[in-house]
Amino acid sequence: MTHVAPIKDVVDIENLVITFATDGEPVRAVDGVSLSVKSGEVLAIVGESGSGKTVTAKAILGLLPETATRSGVVLLGANDVIQLSPKQLRAIRGVDVAMVFQEPSTALNPVYTVGWQIAEGLRAHGKLSKKQARAKAIEILGKVGIPDPEHRVDYYPHQFSGGQKQRVVIAMALVLEPEVIVADEPTTALDVTVQAEILDLLRRCRDEFGAAIVLITHNMGVVADLADRVAVMYNGKVVEEADAVTLFSHPKDAYTQRLLAAVPKLGTGVSQTRERAAARPKQELAPVVQATNLVIEYPGRFGAKGFRAVDDVSFSIHAGEVLGLVGESGSGKTTIGRAIGGLTRITDGSLTVLGQEMLGVRERNFRPLRSRIGFVFQDPASSFNPLLSIAECVAEPLIVHGRAKDAASARPRVNELLEAVQLPRAFGDRFPHELSGGQRQRASLARSLALEPELLIADEPTSALDVSVQARVLELFAELQKEFGFAALFISHDLAVVDLLADRIAVLYQGKLVEEGTGAEVLVAPKHPYTQRLLASLPVPDPAEQASRRELLRALGGTT
């Protein structure tokens, strides 16, 4: 991309080095980064966790913790942020540069109205009277697409949905008309359909408000959707910087190429699924899990009506089959997984797991069946007891079900399992915090497979992982499934991930099963409008294709 007219740089970072003091050795998080952002441009900084992208962006606002030492130059307009005193920093924050945070529900103060919080920035810079500030807040809320702003300016954050809260946060950033907005993973905490709306809004921030945006994200689809220029960071360094179209079509650096290759794409799973279906014995076995008109309610407080998380859902999982369960947050997908694992009681209907009816089941009757069910949890960081070594954790199921006397006698089997999930045996002696996220999730797979279960429930097993790690874990999951032949319920919010693994896909929407079928049916020719919208919202890592998909989504927007 060549700029004909000389457009001024609003942010100019030169040779930025940031080092953190830790309990051990000092850690260099950012190592000689040079970047610049022009006005009216979206610069995306991508990288995996620990690459230093967030720290770099926070340096633009001077928002680093006390343990950090910095050197280099961060020019914001005419000011060098690194040299400014706290008082001077306060004067430029909000006016010259603003921030949009990752988690909108924690970025807003729950005890003040959103109007008050938007006006707070105006008051801090002392420009407007109370009345003017309120008028300004209403105006900006309208601009970011909050319906009925005159009325809703007096609402509290909890009265807004997640996407609307993020709109309010963006409104707070926009109200002082800053030249630069730093958006730190602005859509990571949001569902795909909401993410598409927020990305649209950010695009309008650039087009209508003329703000430059520094977008920090790990999602290549988001980058393709929004960014003009992309900087790829790895280990504190910028390994590649290019405009978005060039980066996606001709990535130069090896790391960028690997990163792009690791992003799961829709439609790659169809051939694999066909292969697996052919390999499976044709005769219909009794289903491992059979749900008929399943209803799960969470009791309300003090006689209030309970919350119906799962509403009249019917499906079945046959032996050796992988069912992908897709839905947004609050759709009840995790609740179904927990009910099958015997962690949540069902309210009505029927759920048969390995021949045991779960309605009103007693723990004593279900316990023998637990050895035949494996469970992989979402967050590998918390699903291991931090005081036990990996080998002890993996041995737990063997000891509990009497297959081994203690951790030492279970060790040969544990070693086998660790090797099955491609971890070196020696990792058994490590503690969970000494493993990376991907390694931990593989150990978690080893634990769930220890008793050779007939059924494996995987609850968002890769959503806490970086893309490149996710790709490896998914590959491993597919390999293990082929080898051990267990039936699986694979729960995910990411259609592309489910597409890779699942034989059949079930789409949940607000507790109801809206569509079920093979990957080819659901993903290629979706029937239900919600599935169509979900598919269209999913950003693909290709700027040109993403632009056309955006149009498609806009067209769909009218129909639902």
Partner: protein, 343 residues
């Protein structure tokens, strides 16, 4: 095949509760911790070696040269003078350390086990048992500590005592007050841990309730115990001294007790005899200060937001291969995944 990353786990010494924090600390926090530790260690040593250190016995009124004088000023044979009853002040102060240490140990040991047991059961099982126990704990909280201690002292020993009777009386009365504290802390941890994914994963596997409580909940719930123990230890000394001061303490011929000595020295203060009250008082203040310093430093060091760290200097450091996570956990960099052997 790449070599697995060498894990620095350190020796057993560096992982012991207090020593690990000492290595971690820096600056003022380190100073506080060291001062606290020095005072506490000196206190414990004094208590253990009291028979060697003290020039006379705690109940000794005479030696070969005859009776000690009453209210002799410091100097000569009696380094810190003698009390109105004719005891050697220095010896009483040194022997008093032994009584105080015993009181701390008994109070902590008695309350720690019961408090942890009740806390884990109540927190993990929940239900009506939990509600009843919490109400009882709250009810005990509502009593003034000292009043409760006096009442239990009277019930246990009728207000009169020899060494073990007195220590047990104060120990048990302190225990009654302390159990709710341990109970509350452990219960809160157990409730938190109950919803952790690793407890759920144990449940999914079919682990029995007892095994979950012992192996997963209890071991993870005891993290903050060293802190409460140090804070409670200083409270135990205060309670023992207060009991002694109010006249529910240990008779001078059974053991030396700082609170009792303070009580007997009240009348001395007005007549300008300072040494009988200053030294036992100073002993109480020092020990409480030392133990509290240790406790407070441990508290600050346990919280990564309060913990100060050495500032990173401008000197060249190895480039980060790891990210900084709040709490100081170091995760191996994700890229090792790509380098690992495929079997």
């Amino acid at each position: 095949m790449t070599e697995p990353v060498v894990v620095r786990r350190g020796s057993v010494w560096s992982r012991l509760p207090v020593l690990r924090q000492l290595r971690q600390s820096v600056g003022l926090q380190r100073g506080m911790l060291i001062v606290g530790l020095v005072i506490s260690v000196a206190f414990v040593l004094t208590a253990i070696f009291a028979p060697i250190l003290a020039p006379y016995g705690y109940a000794q009124l005479q030696d070969a040269q005859g009776n000690f004088g009453a209210q002799d000023p410091p100097g000569g044979k009696h380094l810190l003078g003698t009390t109105v009853g004719g005891y050697d002040v220095l010896s009483r102060v040194i022997w008093g350390a032994q009584t105080a240490l015993l009181a701390i140990i008994i109070a902590v040991v008695l309350s720690v086990f019961l408090g942890i047991l009740l806390g884990v059961i109540s927190g993990y099982l929940g239900g009506w048992l939990d509600r009843v126990l919490v109400v009882i704990a709250d009810a005990v909280y509502a009593f003034p500590t000292l009043l409760l201690a006096i009442v239990s002292a009277i019930i246990i020993s009728g207000g009169q005592s020899n060494l073990w009777g007195g220590i047990l009386a104060s120990g048990v009365s302190i225990t009654v007050v302390f159990i709710p504290q341990y109970f509350r802390v452990i219960r809160a941890e157990a409730v938190r841990i109950k919803s952790e994914a690793y407890v759920e994963s144990a449940k999914v596997v079919g682990t029995s309730v007892l095994r979950i409580m012992l192996r997963h909940v209890l071991r993870n719930a005891t993290r903050s115990l060293p802190l409460i123990i140090t804070l409670n230890a200083s409270e135990a000394i205060f309670t023992l001294a207060a009991l002694g001061f109010l006249g529910f303490g240990i008779e001078p011929n059974s053991a030396a007790e700082w609170g009792y000595d303070l009580n007997k020295s009240i009348s001395d203060v007005t007549s300008g005899i300072w040494w009988t009250s200053i030294f036992p008082g100073l002993a109480i203040v020092l020990v409480v200060l030392g133990v509290t310093l240790v406790g407070e430093s441990l508290n600050d060091l346990a919280d990564p937001r309060l913990r100060t760290r050495r500032r990173a200097t401008g000197a060249p450091v190895t480039t980060a291969d790891v990210s900084v996570v709040p709490g100081g956990t170091l995760d191996a960099v994700t890229i090792t995944d790509g380098l690992e052997p495929r079997s």
